[in-house]
Subunit: 272 residues, 4 copies
């Protein structure tokens, strides 16, 4: 490679701290790939790539709990349905997966990120000397000004009264706190948020999977956008499994409902 | 910009015949953008960008017929359903559109391209001196070896007996041939293919929209992959309209069916 | 189709005002498709699908100006570069197009929408009886509280001093106002915004293509999100043209720079 | 839920063996989610979702080696570059990830699948009683008729002479065969293919990561399309890491090269 200014400009344009390559050599965050293969778990590799350092086994195991929990919520989830439909349209499995992941937007895949933002804001309020109750109350109020009344991470329109994933995840966080793997602070915050929302509306509300995985991701030091990113990795597993199952089931141009049903036509004024 | 080798390498890496730009100047295929705006139709611009030259008004009008015909086939089409679902997931309208277009694969959006390949192969057989009947019979046979029995562009699982778009499009191609805008050769080929398939199966078959638009695109000199590309442009209009309508209807994480219906669970062995 | 409650629920779930279909019949907004093909331009069809009614020829021509203006900005635009790279990765032209359109997000494709929001807010302030100068000053201030200092639609990092598309588009809007096709109110607003920003920073600023197309879309009655949607349709043309050109150029797994250049590796701390 | 025919039709339309859900209950392949969380690794969960059963720890560890190996190949890979560009365009991290995954097509992400097809075809030839040398020679010849001369999984345009991931992976497969975790048959086949290609061209060729991961996926019983699907999962990690790093680096509408470089304009005839 020439050494002049233009070459430097172009190489710097694509600079990265993640990977260092030369012919015959690949290193991630300073670790040669051949030292990682066979020695770190997939979850540890995910951590290394996103956080830049290697986690302990115990930290990786807790991360793994969150990754396992979020893989799928069935074909009534729009991302899964769309992936299954794509699998019948004559595109590759990579396109099928992209179709599903692309739909994990603010509403479908962003709850964990939004919830992590709330937890971290409350943590800052605690750091500033506020008591938990006040920090939670003010944190929720500030969050609602931006995001609206429904606090992401709590309640579930389908799993009533309880999302079975959340208590299991919270139990594992508590175990990890006892073992010293994590601090437990965000578990406290999450439960305080749950209590406060329930108190305000006068009836208990359950933490859902997004509320519980956000606790884990915060405990493990992931910034909020990675709560969404890690969820996308996790849900990619379900998207792949469903896309592949659909390919085996067959079908061509699968629509959302059997062909005998036709969408109702409503003249324009009546719709809005 | 420096003139050395590295700069040249990088500029050449991204070389293009489509656009020529400098600060304050944009030209497409040699035409300054300010001369195109207000003077050419959107269809003419599409032609200029993809074919490299400007069509006559009559050619552009025929292209426009094909573009108008393909805009939408309703929410039972997987691309439209997926786009509408995406519109409720908290992503931008650009992501909604990409979700739909991404699904226009070999099965959902590739019929026009596959049909154009057949037409052009038959045209080559005619050029080589074969009679139409033989060229069509051999062309279909050769095509089926690659693509399977069902010839793309003929028959429709929903519009029986006739897809209303096809005869209208073919009528306009015939008018254009009479007017000297196009040659009419691919209209002949398309109709001969229709007759041959019908004869072989012993019952008439109707040309569908893909068979008719492929006739138009071939008459106008577009290579087969652009039959798919132009269809994607056309269908993007429907995808946009449906995504936007869904945004106005509202909803969060719209699944493929109302929430009260749950996917049937079938143990693994029974599925395959 | 059966007439019971479940069937109704599913048909209503996918209700639409855009398209009405039965075997052998397709109508858009009440117009049979065979009446539209050959009788309306592609731009008129776009309008019908998104707005629900058919525009006059003059209105359609003005819409067409905006659609023509935005088709492409060359391979240094990330959407175009990504589409060209995708074209060498072994995916279909539909996937290539989706890759590009997907990237037209808030920053890359949202300027027109954001600018239209500003214009419409100023129009409301005028309706409330404010003078133009005050409405513009207060509108800009309110807009900046949400979106930040840089007003979308004005200035261009590449086309200095003038984006050649903007004055041409504005001239055509003015012509259309004289002809009575549009009111001209948003042209006034756009120019007043331009003057106010220039005055505030003490040096003139040019309206760019997003500022000018937003004027057109507002004059023609499109709500702000459709400013983005229509831009996505327009830019899809360039994405298609570049993807197709790249397919003809060939290449496998085209990266952003020639292979002889390697991304600079920078240890983590130095990057952020 | 009502029990009639229409309801059944719609529920059956979305039938699946992967997940079974009721309010408060989620089971994957018969395992309640709360039993999986904390008890299975992410790799085991990936296996359960795609293959339908739970692997042993040793099998999961071998799968994990392949998943770790493929996470990233830096910004000169088009999928990574496109994801980084998308991250500056104002879209969500989910859209960034989809952009990258979408590009892992036949050329960029399909090598493992194509190579697995070759291995499995050779295995069938062995089952039919052919000797390894003949099975390999005939298998390669048959494969080339479909896919062309260059056999996917062998040789690397960048890592010369050796892709450091391949020998490490093959060593771990051999260890697993000694331990009885896998049979070792596909390791034999892979090495025989490598030897045959080298003999045919008269100079040794190295197995690359796709050739080695295909060995692992075949040893573990994954059908060929899942070789691509699992690679997409693996590479999603790198896409996420790079997208996130780019978000931290900042930038708006990052193009493929620094703005001072402009794409070379070449008149049309010269390009093709």
């Amino acid at each position: 490679m020439s050494n002049n200014e233009d070459a430097q400009a172009i190489c710097t344009w694509w600079r990265t701290s993640i990977i260092d390559m030369e012919p015959g050599r690949i290193a991630f965050r300073g670790h040669p790939i051949e030292d990682l293969i066979g020695n770190v778990s997939f979850a540890q590799m995910i951590w290394l790539m996103t956080q830049g350092n290697l986690p302990s086994d115990a930290e990786a195991k807790l991360l793994e709990c969150a990754l396992v929990a979020g893989v799928d919520h069935g074909p009534q989830a729009p991302s899964i349905a769309a992936a299954r439909m794509a699998a019948t349209c004559g595109v590759g499995l990579n396109n099928v997966m992209a179709t599903g992941v692309n739909m994990l937007g603010d509403v479908h895949g962003g709850a964990g990120e939004q919830c992590a933002e709330l937890y971290l804001d409350i943590a800052l309020r605690l750091d500033a000397g506020n008591a938990m109750e006040q920090a939670v109350r003010e944190g929720i109020a500030a969050w609602r000004k931006i995001h609206g009344k429904i606090v992401s991470g709590f309640g579930h329109r389908f799993h009533k009264p309880v999302d079975p994933r959340a208590p299991r995840l919270m139990g594992l966080v508590r175990d990890a706190a006892v073992a010293g793997t994590v601090n437990g602070r965000f578990a406290d915050i999450g439960e305080a948020v749950q209590a406060e929302i329930g108190a305000q509306r006068g009836t208990p509300i359950a933490m859902n999977i997004d509320g519980a995985t956000a606790v884990i991701f915060c405990e493990l030091g992931f910034p909020p956008p990675l709560s969404r990113g890690l969820f996308c990795l996790s849900r990619s597993v379900g998207i792949l499994a469903h896309g592949w199952e659909q390919m085996q089931q067959g079908g061509r141009n699968k629509g959302p409902m059997p062909p005998k049903f036709l969408p109702l036509h409503e003249p324009m004024g009546e719709l809005e």
